[in-house]
Symmetry: C2
């Protein structure tokens, strides 16, 4: 793990870019001395870790006293894209604009993205937990499909916050019952890209004994600011 840049932000958060082999990542840590619990934060469907909404969320979460890490996993962010993925992205845009069913296209795009991303998140987790400023336990926040797979296969994930969940590949819908850690599913009631009933069905399917659903009125990007605080309190219950 090589740190390639470092910024000290106003709110007592240190933001560092790193590379880990081919994987680019960002690590946000509180400036305090004590080792902090870690939250892995992934943006839906391969959006870059530099996306401003993810960065804002990560910085605020670090300001609460967590180490927060994000990576651009294989095929995500600015990483090279396969011709198949490029074609699927174009098909998906066209289908959604035309209001046509997009399930199969979505499956062909996101299914392989998840398969490629999860091993790299685990590699990153190994390297992050070796840093002296980071302690367990580990939480996960964001991209539902990657989080389901990670929480199902990775015993170091102690709590998970998922967002949306209307479109999740078949493999992860089936794996939802294998997720048994405490979880918070956050959804937007009128999310234009995530059918509500599917998100509710997914919530129902999770194997966790402790699971909470938060839903707010509005579209995909309309999550109210207080949900960030609620998410941090959720993690405080399970990672402290």
């Amino acid at each position: 793990m090589h740190f390639t840049s470092e910024q000290h932000l106003d709110d007592g958060v240190r933001e560092r870019e790193f590379t880990l082999g081919e994987i680019p990542g960002t690590l946000w840590t509180p400036e305090s001395a004590a080792p902090a619990p870690l939250i892995l934060m992934a943006h839906n469907n391969g959006l870059p870790k530099s996306e401003p909404r993810l960065v804002a969320r990560a910085r605020r979460t670090a300001a609460y006293g967590y180490a927060v890490a994000s990576i651009d996993a294989a095929g995500c962010g600015d990483r090279p894209r396969s011709a198949t993925a490029e074609q699927a992205r174009a098909d998906l845009r066209r289908a959604m604009q035309a209001g046509e069913p997009a399930d199969e296209i979505f499956e062909s795009l996101v299914g392989p993205l998840v398969e490629g991303a999860v091993p790299e998140w685990r590699t990153a987790l190994d390297a992050l937990l070796a840093l002296p400023e980071i302690a367990g336990p580990v939480g996960y926040s964001g991209w539902t499909a990657v989080g389901i797979r990670l929480a199902a296969v990775e015993p170091r994930i102690a709590a998970a916050g998922f967002f949306a969940g209307g479109y999740v590949p078949r493999a992860q819908r089936a794996e939802a019952r294998e997720v048994t850690v405490p979880l918070l599913l956050l959804l937007q009631w009128d999310d234009e890209g995530n059918p509500r009933q599917r998100a509710l069905d997914l919530f129902d399917a999770f194997g966790s004994k402790e699971k909470t659903l938060h839903a707010n009125l509005g579209g995909h990007t309309g999550t109210p600011w207080f949900e960030l605080d609620d998410g941090n309190r959720f993690f405080a219950r399970h990672l402290r």
Copy 2:
């Protein structure tokens, strides 16, 4: 309004019983000097204000800095019950034990209870707001059907937290669209007495632009303790 008893509790809360004409009530206030915002707290379907879960919720909410009031409205708690209501309660118990449809019986019991209760809650609100230790704005917490009617007709209600909502009389289901204050609907995902889909439909029907749904795994009385804190933070956003 006549105070008939007073207790000072360990957590800095003063608990007073009062009567207001025929209406018995309890008022919990923080011992601090500043006038506090008021939360009206009603238990579902006429259960008494002395019910331990309501009392625990009221005390903890007062310890957060709110004045909290509950009354036994007409037909509720230990107030005299009509022969019709007694018959409906017996029928309801029998139908629910037998797993038979209970909608019509429920309607005949709870519809009139709501009609009778809401004017008395408004009378109590007038008297409570005249006390020097209570200030507006006013929140409402608990029994969904009474809360819908109150929030629809009473402009002094600034925010509302509702619980369950699977069984709500027809009149209040129709009035839900007239509720426009910020609201938090709290439901138990496996509530044995409240069909989930109806609660979700009710959430959808509310006219409020700012509405949040919290759902947790488990049965009717299994609401996790952290929802009380979440509720208080909800009121803090709207009553402070």
